[in-house]
């Protein structure tokens, strides 16, 4: 049995449109310093030091470019580091630590400014000479085997452990020291779905070309049972054993039970090209382009009216959404780096295209009217829009100049446009009629005012326009100044202006019928419940002059916004051991069509760093933030609804309140926040570091209804030991706890009174929750060389638990409480606990050949009451689930890798 309690939805009008109008945008100097550090494998060992500097500068610039390339991608970060789950460190795991350490100047490892030990570097390569060229690299081939629950989705997240032969790593570099020309290839292949290849060619201080291909899997479910045929396509149809709109729950359950479990996953295939070059020693030009294609399927929603309110009616369906899209990212620009000036002129673009505009699915269950003697239209098909095709273009220019007092002034401006003009889908995908035949027939006419012709709504002609024609213009201005008048004092200031302007709105108007609004729940809502009371909640979702009191959404919501952020701060070194800092920040947020037209954040942050002892670095940060704003309008959305249309006639008693006046949304509510961080970095020995950190964040909201408080506390303890390049060990423990306090109220009445405790939101409907999240994490690592054998071991532990406690004024506060939680005060904990252990041996076999044998064991425990009862079957009454939910698992990976230094 599925145990479910549903609290009423937050008392705020939903923002939905038929055509899915959301915009899911994806988001050199010649100065040379000699270092006695050893040349490292990743440094081009050119004989000309200037060339090396150029390469390093070039590599840094390229990294910046790649970073900006990734920044434009919806999957930020996935391209900046070419690695996979077998080798998350992109090759460094296969490198041998350099027994000589970091530098001849001192033993042991260096420490970062914050007091942490740097990792020991790897041995430099032993290049082979080929005429003018020299080359070095590694080839790592291996064999993997998995056991246990190795089909589990969590075990296979972002990896495809395909048992068998693999190319763990190929990494080879050619260099010509005489002119700084270099080339590198890098590849890894675990399976067809999990592999990457990269090639780079260039000349230090001149140009660089790179190309890459990367495939990455993402398993979303390994226990899916789809009752539909056509998974992965945009047409989900029921099997012949089921009758669309005419099957019983028992029949559907039988089909589901007989369907073998399958894996639902999405594969990402990305390829890219990049080019950069020096035009002069100061000017560089760059251009990058990439294309990422996703394919597969994932569990998704599928509305066909809410089954809870009307048991035995409609359906709650978990469908399977097809994924077949591509995103092209491009960027290019010019950069100047001189002694005084630096400039950057860049363009970024992102272009998303989805093969499908929508997908459809058949519903197995019948719809029956809530009114006696009436009949419902036989709706059998639902539809869901996919993400719309969209474009993003942005131009940006940055000017930075050195100024007196060892300072720098930087000014950045950018303008951009996010736009979509995808074809809008028709409001409904049906044939015949939908709605309710009040007189017992399905003949449209005055006798059946709540019966509608599909032909008037299943065509794009039913839309007020055919395409989205939506865009958001963005503009940004950022000015920053930093001054260091003395070595002990640094002063900084900044000003940032951001603006987003929505260009256009969509009016849900059907020129074929003269009606406003959108068809709710694929027409199923209006086919079960009429709009007898004039409310959208009780009808198909349409307003017209003949139904002048119906309340329904008719307009998309433009969320124009302007923010101004100004800050000033300073860091002052007081004496030899203390540094004090202070930052004042003021942020003004001016959103349009929101509860407040102005919200102001004022904050002060104080920092203190103490190094009174050689072995101890103490850091303390304290922040106080206060958010205020202008008058709070609890319901600014009336203009989106039919209540704003000419001819709207308020029903007797007035328009039902759509929101409670005591509600304060958390992002605009008045708020006080205090944050405190304490960090101690201790070096009891030259080769050891102990780090202790604690943090707290306390938020108090001025809200009787809404988020009232959100507090987090956390602490970490870390020990790290590097007694020699061949030995290092670490231990880690972390704990954090957060508590989110919410208050809400159910609308028990249908009056116009919006006051808390009034006719609509009586105190009997009030309820409260505390969401408590508690996490423990721990880990340990050990690397040790015994003779020629290197041992590595690591352990990672995570124990995450979330509990929701609740209380309510009366049972009326709960929408559906019949499943047994009335006498309780909390839901069962949501638990996710993993233990993983890695053991590895790396053994040199001959001068250039070594072998790595490793075992990776992971055990995961998942407890999620949302999926309770699915073990007995995925179909419960009229609720059809496809994904069986996350499963506990215990799996093992053993691998043998043979490395050859090339």
């Amino acid at each position: 049995m599925t145990i479910t309690i549903l609290f009423p939805s937050f008392p705020r009008r939903q923002v939905r449109t038929s055509g899915s109008l959301s915009l899911p945008f994806p988001a050199a100097s010649h100065a040379i310093t000699l270092s006695p550090s050893f040349p490292r494998k990743r440094e081009p060992p050119f004989s000309l030091r200037a060339n090396r500097q150029w390469i390093l500068a070039f590599a840094g610039m390229t990294a910046c470019l790649l970073g900006s390339l990734a920044h434009a991608d919806s999957g930020v970060g996935v391209d900046t580091w070419r690695g996979n789950k077998l080798d998350p460190n992109a090759g460094t795991q296969s490198e041998t630590p350099d027994e000589r350490g970091t530098t001849w100047l001192q033993p042991g490892q260096h420490r970062s400014p914050s007091g942490n030990l740097y990792l020991n570097p790897s041995e430099p390569p032993q290049p082979d000479e080929y005429g003018d060229w020299q080359g070095y690299g590694i080839l790592q081939l291996g064999l993997l085997g998995t056991g246990g629950d190795d089909n589990n989705a969590l075990w296979n997240r972002y990896v495809d452990w395909d048992s068998g032969l693999i190319l763990a790593l190929l990494d080879y570099t050619w260099e010509r020291p005489s002119d700084g020309t270099y080339a590198n290839v890098r590849a890894s292949r675990l399976s067809d779905d999990d592999q990457y290849y990269q090639a780079v060619f260039g000349r230090a201080g001149s140009y660089k070309i790179q190309a890459f291909i990367r495939d990455m899997p993402n398993v979303l479910s390994n226990n899916a049972r789809s009752i539909w045929n056509g998974v992965g396509s945009n047409t989900l149809t029921l099997p012949s054993s089921l009758t669309p709109g005419g099957s019983t729950p028992e029949q559907v359950a039988a089909v589901s039970a007989a369907t073998p479990e399958r894996t639902l996953k999405v594969k990402r295939e990305k390829q890219g090209l990049g080019y950069s070059m020096y035009l002069t020693p100061e000017w560089t030009a760059y251009a990058n382009a990439s294309d990422e294609e996703r394919s597969g399927a994932r569990p998704y929603g599928g509305p066909f009216f809410f089954n809870y309110a009307y048991p035995g009616d409609g359906g709650v369906l978990e469908t399977v959404k097809p994924i077949d899209d591509s995103t092209i990212n491009v960027n290019g620009g010019l950069r100047y780096a001189g002694a005084v000036w630096r400039m950057d002129f860049g363009y970024q673009g992102s272009f998303y295209r989805d093969r499908y505009t929508s997908y459809t699915y058949q519903t197995p269950f019948a719809l029956t009217p809530s009114i006696s003697n009436a009949i419902s239209a036989p709706l059998t098909t639902g539809q869901m829009s996919t993400e719309p095709d969209n474009n993003y273009n942005n131009l940006q220019a940055t000017f930075t100049r050195k100024i007196p007092w060892n300072g720098e002034l930087s000014l950045t401006g950018s303008v951009g446009r996010m736009s979509q003009n995808d074809r809008l889908i028709a409001p409904i995908d049906c044939q015949g009629v939908f709605g309710i035949g009040l007189n017992g027939s399905l003949q449209t006419g005055p006798q059946n005012p709540y019966l509608y012709n599909c032909a008037d709504w299943n065509t794009p002609n039913a839309l007020s326009r055919r395409n989205a024609d939506m865009s958001i213009d963005t503009s940004m201005l950022d000015a920053r100044i930093v001054l260091q008048p003395t070595s002990d004092l640094s002063v900084r200031g900044g000003f940032k202006f951001n603006r987003e302007d929505y260009r256009n709105t969509y009016l849900a108007y059907n020129p074929l019928t003269g009606q406003y609004g959108y068809i709710a729940e694929n027409g199923a809502q209006g086919t079960v419940v009429t709009g007898a009371n004039g409310s959208a909640e009780g009808g198909v979702g349409l307003w017209d002059p003949s139904n002048p009191s119906a309340i329904t959404r008719v307009l998309s919501l433009p969320l124009d916004q302007q923010t101004i952020d100004a800050n000033i701060g300073a860091d002052w070194k007081v004496g030899a051991h203390n540094t004090l800092g202070a930052t004042l920040d003021f942020l003004r947020d001016e959103p349009s069509h929101r509860e407040r037209s102005r919200a102001d954040d004022s904050s002060v942050k104080l920092t203190w760093i103490n190094r009174s002892f050689d072995w101890l670095t103490l850091r303390a940060n304290a922040t106080y933030l206060k958010q205020t704003g202008d008058n709070y309008n609890y319901d600014p959305y009336e203009f989106l609804y039919s209540t704003s249309l000419p001819g709207f006639l308020a029903p007797p008693g007035g328009v039902q309140a759509q929101s409670v006046d005591a509600l304060r949304l958390y992002d605009l509510a008045s708020r006080d926040e205090e944050k405190l961080d304490l960090i101690a970095t201790i070096a009891p020995r030259d080769d050891m570091t102990i780090s202790i950190s604690t943090r707290g964040d306390w938020n108090s909201y001025d809200a009787e209804i809404g988020r009232q408080g959100y507090n987090t506390l956390g602490a970490t303890l870390q020990w790290e030991w590097q007694p020699s390049p061949s030995t290092n060990a670490s231990l880690y423990y972390g704990y954090d706890r957060s508590k989110l306090r919410m208050a809400s109220v159910n609308d028990l009445g249908a009056a116009a009174d919006p006051t808390l405790g009034g006719g609509t939101y009586s105190n009997d409907g009030r309820w409260w929750t505390d969401d408590i999240q508690r996490n423990h994490s721990a880990g340990a690592t050990l690397t040790h060389t015994i003779g020629r054998v290197r041992l590595d071991a690591s352990w990672a532990y995570l124990d995450a638990q979330g509990t929701t406690r609740y209380r309510f004024a009366t049972p009326a506060a709960l929408a559906y409480f019949a499943d047994g939680f009335l006498n309780s005060n909390e839901f069962p904990p949501l638990a996710y606990r993993t233990n993983s252990l890695t053991l590895g041996l790396t053994i040199p076999l001959m001068r250039r050949v070594s072998m790595r044998l490793f075992d990776y064991y992971e055990r995961g425990h998942v407890s999620d009451w949302h999926y309770a009862g699915l073990a007995a079957g995925y179909v419960i009454d009229h609720r059809v689930y496809t994904d069986g939910g996350p499963q506990s698992y215990s799996a093992n990976l053993v691998g043998l890798l043979v490395s050859v230094e090339l």
Partner: protein, 228 residues
């Protein structure tokens, strides 16, 4: 994976593990980064120093400027130099024969003895290039890739600023008052990669890499006359 496959895989792994033989890590570098203090018997060292005096003078001050003064030098530097001579055993070095039969205690005694002798007095004459040499020694030349020497040898060339704190800093020699011809040859040897036995040699290899002959001679002369 089938059970048979598991057995085969693990058998192969076990075999490969057994193939791993003992370590043969080369220890061909004298690592001066973690040395301890050098102690010995100065009186015994004096008795053993007779052979040294021909080149380095009876009081540790070399009469021939191609040979270094030893008097007042850090015992750690002297001891590890002897170790280096002994290990390198270069055929073209006059020190090879001298150190061949010295035991470790002999070398420590000699080092302690010469370190205890009063250093040679610096010449007091000045040269036109003193200012340039001083700037090069103290500030280096970033444009030419030359780091400042004073970081390891002290602003007055009297040794590492932290020499009193740890023995490893006394492996950096005192340069003030040293013979210019000796210093010149030594710097050229570093620059040309002829000295690589110790970790400090590796440091000097990088330092001297960009020094031209003129700069070397300027610095050496400036050090000889007292590094003022």
């Amino acid at each position: 994976m089938s059970a048979v496959r598991w057995i085969v895989v693990r058998s192969v792994l076990l075999g490969l593990l057994l193939m791993a033989t003992t370590a043969t890590v080369a220890a061909d570098l004298i690592d001066l980064r973690q040395i301890g203090a050098v102690t010995g018997d100065a009186a015994s060292g004096k008795a053993k120093a007779t052979a040294c005096m021909g080149c380095h003078g009876p009081a540790g001050v070399a009469p021939v400027p191609m040979f270094p003064n030893l008097a007042g030098q850090h015992s750690e530097y002297l001891y590890w130099s002897l170790v280096e001579f002994q290990r390198a055993a270069r055929a073209d070095s006059p020190m090879t024969a001298q150190v061949a039969k010295l035991g470790d205690a002999d070398m420590r005694d000699l080092a302690v003895y010469f370190a205890a002798l009063p250093p040679a007095g610096a010449e007091t004459k000045s040269a036109p290039s003193d200012a340039l040499a001083a700037a090069l020694f103290r500030n280096g030349d970033a444009a030419r890739g030359i780091p400042p020497c004073q970081g390891c040898h002290g602003a007055d060339a009297g040794g590492h600023p932290l020499a009193a704190d740890a023995a490893r800093y006394r492996a950096y020699p005192i340069l003030r008052g040293q013979h210019a011809p000796y210093l010149t040859q030594r710097l050229k040897d570093y620059r040309d990669g002829r000295l690589t036995e110790s970790s400090n040699d590796r440091i000097m290899r990088g330092v001297a890499h960009s020094l031209d002959d003129g700069s070397i001679e300027q610095i050496a002369s400036w050090l000889q006359v007292g590094a003022q």
